[in-house]
């Protein structure tokens, strides 16, 4: 779904919490966290597609599902 860019964590829930608890929270770790210096010759999106992806390189693409950033 998010090709490995999504992380889950489980916040502490107190019995004193007034509202129904959110049990799972997620955050995104985008590909720029792993690539120190982009290697030469990476595969590219075709020209017709790159604009709509927001990048020329699939390796740097980060999909976002609404509501999963937090």
């Amino acid at each position: 779904m998010n090709n490995g860019q999504l992380r889950e964590w489980y916040p502490f829930i107190s019995p004193c919490d007034p509202c129904p608890p959110i049990r799972v929270k997620t955050y995104v770790v985008p590909p720029n966290q792993y690539i120190v210096y982009q290697p030469m010759g990476l595969q590219q999106f075709p020209i017709d597609e790159a604009l709509f992806r927001g990048t020329l390189w699939p390796a740097l693409f980060s999909p976002y599902q609404p509501g999963t950033g937090n």
Binding site: Y37, F52, G54, T55, L60, S62, G67, G69
Partner: protein
């Protein structure tokens, strides 16, 4: 010298008449982590950054103005046909009192833009880490804005802008890497 091209970087479409979003989008127009802050931050830092990295700061700074124009387009489209009552219902009453439907550089809460949103320490590592942080903050802001709308066309443009922040962050990290490398050892290139 700056040249202006009469064309948006990305085809911005807004399908849903939802002036409430215009107020939230202002966070990326005149907000702390928005496109104006980004453009002015990088274009100002570039005067004193090491020569090898001036090109990058100039080019990313210039691209940020293109993004500012995209945000302006979204806000413009969402408000240009509204009447006073619709604007008040959208939380833009105070804005209207001061500006009518003119855009203005303030954040979603109405605070005006300030140079305190940006920094230039003169130390290249400090400056570049400020830039990386700014890009990550902008990425996060776009995530929250995407969460706040169900207009698929608006989401499309915001998704583009979010991905651009990831790329910019990547390039600034590479700039740090370039500056870390000793020119004699030619580690990178």
């Amino acid at each position: 010298m700056w040249l202006y091209e009469k064309k948006l970087q990305y085809p911005v479409k807004v399908s849903k008449c939802d002036p409430k979003m215009a107020k939230f989008l202002m966070e990326q127009y005149g907000g702390a982590d928005g496109e104006l802050s980004a453009a002015l931050r990088y274009l100002n830092q570039r005067y004193t950054i090491p020569d090898r990295v001036i090109g990058l700061l100039t080019d990313i700074g210039t691209e940020e103005f293109a993004h500012l124009e995209m945000i302006a387009t979204m806000i413009y489209k969402l408000t240009k046909d509204s009447d006073v009552e619709q604007l008040k219902a959208a939380g833009l009453g105070a804005h209207y009192a001061a500006h009518d439907k003119a855009l203005f550089y303030s954040n979603a809460a109405g605070s005006p833009w300030t140079a305190t949103y940006i920094q230039a320490k003169g130390d290249p590592i400090a400056d570049l880490y400020e830039d990386i942080a700014a890009e990550e903050k902008a990425r996060a802001t776009y995530q929250w804005l995407i969460d706040m709308t169900d207009d698929v066309d608006l989401i499309d443009s915001l998704t583009f802008l979010r991905e651009r922040e990831i790329i910019h962050s990547q390039r600034f990290r590479e700039a740090v890497d370039i500056l870390k490398a000793d020119q004699q050892t030619k580690k990178i290139f």
